[in-house]
Assembly symmetry: C2
Homo-oligomer: 399 residues x 2
């Protein structure tokens, strides 16, 4: 196989619509480097000062005050009572699921159209992901179809929602704000109450996004966020567990720090724990990043505004704008290509990436990955259609 | 309960032996701060420069060249073919066990006298830790007793070693170099060959230690190391998987990076993966630390030498010196208190910690923790006795 052929071999295209699309994207982007990345962190504030302080102190690891400081600042920003910083968003989701009692044999509802970490986190609990359908405009869960599906396919045994077909408890739903666009999280909450399912918000992509003036990441019982390098703010690697529940917050801190019982020198642990604590040096970076976030969000709105304008008159693709009543962080700017152009996706990807503008398709839907192909699921026609029509566009504010 | 009473209430002691012990430790330590920590990272080289470079590049997370560079430098130092850097030592152990095929229902032999992360990592695979006895001088596994135990309690079914009593396969043994003192790893290797058990070296504490002039961390089929803040070098949080096997190294890289198939833009994953990759900024710190390691090891030998001298004539406790034919990194300097003085351990801990010298007992043995109390195990009389007789002494070279 000629792998060069598969990796950006087409520097030219005879398709005039693809050329036009390319020029539409290009005119949005500031003149900058030869290759415009999809996402590059914006490190423009006190990050170096805090990291230098941390290095100078010597306490770069599990001792030191930057983690507490970062947790406090983030809790205040999001408006939740407790934040527990972790090594990454996957770890945060894993522990969020454990805290609400997800166990071996359970099922957890989640979108098929998401990043694989979410499905993996479900399996770390010994549970099974159960995939739900997306709506075709903002790409979040289709709550109308979900409600109908749950009505027909589940029954209630006491407090527990049971999958009629598998007989397994459906313990939780993970709701994700795709590319930073808030879903109707209050509707999600109503459905959870109605069917006896716990709500976990996967706000990995939605730091700084607002639903009815409330920050994403503060709605579910326990929620998760990510500070990977391609997110709104980064700690190198990092994530956080968010909750308003005092007891769950204590448990989160406890089991992310090897479940060690507090004592000045004796080493006792009372349950299986994890080494998921964010190191002090990464938290130092996070504090600097958090200080700059308002500025970053503002710049991201400006960039999204330019995309909105550029695509307003463009035929054949729609830019995803923020949902009504919501404020998006516009994490990844995204267009949805018209159905009749979906066959062009690979050509678009090749042409744009070859010519200095990094673009990306959406993730392969979870139910189409080999390890999840047998997992329970709704009809996923919309997801399967969308998978060939989505293009992420350069979204950094640092070029 | 008066918790103040339990936390360093005794600033005085009427026991003259404890006073003498305190003075013996004190005279080893350089005049420095009011409180001498047990272990503080030594950050004395190019760490600032590399981290600043990393920040300036913007690539602090999963993109960037510091991780590859760190892995290459470490592989060269240890003398193994492949290193895969991870978020921490626990993650490295987890993946090491998965790579050699540890699965739900298996048992993994490991010392009861170790840090809880090792036993936790076994449970992450769905397997059961099976605890083995330690020898009373250098605190490693007692291989003589182990061999006898395996002869009496296991049988061979084809290539697989079976626990006669539980019927479960014993897939692996995790061998740990306690406090940096190398165990007889070649003996461990012989026993593994004899009984059909895979050898995993937990070299978390033994970076820079040598057995017969070969670095610890290079003996087992897949091995793990830690760069936590209290280790010989630190990356904030961090660890590494070490192996000479090309295929296992590929798998290690693959499943620690979400099992994503290599492609410039499509997101496909072929198995359950983990988000265990070390961030670029932590690797930048690691490269600086690795450059300084020879100097740190030299200073640690000098400090250990002063402890050896101070305790040579001291009655009632023995300093653990490096095993014959080995070179220890003297990670944590340690004394073993005479049996008839074991009742004084808590008093010693209180008095030393209250008076500015941080000391620590050994970890509570794993089989005495509630979550592992039912796990299969050898007779652990030596471990139970040692648990009350071990005192870790200040071991930093940065005060």
């Amino acid at each position: 196989m000629d792998t060069t052929k598969n990796c950006f071999s087409d520097f030219e295209t005879s398709n005039s619509w693809i050329k036009e699309l390319f020029e539409t994207i290009k005119k949005v982007l500031p003149k900058g480097p030869d290759i415009v990345p999809l996402y590059k962190p914006t490190i423009i504030g006190n990050e170096w000062n805090y990291i230098k302080q941390c290095l100078d102190s010597g306490w770069v690891s599990s001792v030191g005050s930057f983690v507490d400081h970062f947790e406090k600042d983030l809790a205040e920003y999001i408006g939740v009572k407790h934040v527990v910083a972790t090594v990454n968003g996957t770890a945060a989701l894993h522990i969020a699921l454990k805290l609400i009692g997800v166990k071996a044999g359970d099922e957890v509802l989640m979108p098929s159209l998401t990043f694989v970490a979410t499905a993996n986190a479900v399996t770390y609990c010994g549970a099974q992901p159960h995939f739900v359908e997306s709506e075709p405009v903002k790409l979040g869960i289709d709550f109308e179809k979900l409600e109908e599906y749950l009505r027909s396919n589940t029954l209630r045994k006491g407090q527990i929602c049971i999958n009629k077909h598998s007989g397994s408890p459906i313990k939780a739903i993970i709701v994700m704000h795709t590319f930073g666009h808030p879903v109707d999280i209050l509707r999600a909450s109503e459905i959870c109450d109605q069917f006896g399912i716990a709500l976990v918000e996967d706000a990995a992509e939605a730091l700084g996004s607002l639903h009815n003036n409330r920050c994403c990441g503060g709605f579910g019982k326990v929620n998760a966020i990510s500070f990977n390098g391609n997110k709104i703010i980064t700690t190198g690697g990092g994530g956080a567990i968010l909750t308003n529940d005092d007891e769950l917050a204590n448990q989160a801190k406890h089991i992310t720090t090897t479940a060690k019982l507090s004592h000045p020198y004796f080493y006792n642990h009372d349950t299986i724990g994890y080494n998921y604590r964010m190191p002090n040096i990464n938290a130092a970076l996070g504090i600097g990043q958090l200080e700059q976030m308002a500025k970053v969000l503002l710049e991201k709105r400006k960039l999204a505004g330019r995309y909105v304008e550029a695509f307003a008159q463009f035929e054949g693709a729609n830019f995803i704008d923020e949902p009504e009543g919501c404020k998006s962080n516009y994490w990844l700017n995204t267009i949805i290509i018209d159905d009749n152009k979906s066959k062009l996706l690979t050509q678009i990807l090749e042409f744009t990436n070859n010519n200095g503008i990094m673009t990306r398709p959406i993730w392969t839907p979870m139910h189409q990955l080999p390890m999840f192909s047998e997992a329970p699921r709704m009809n996923l026609n919309v997801v399967e259609n969308l998978a060939h029509r989505i293009l992420n566009l350069p979204s950094s504010v640092a070029f």
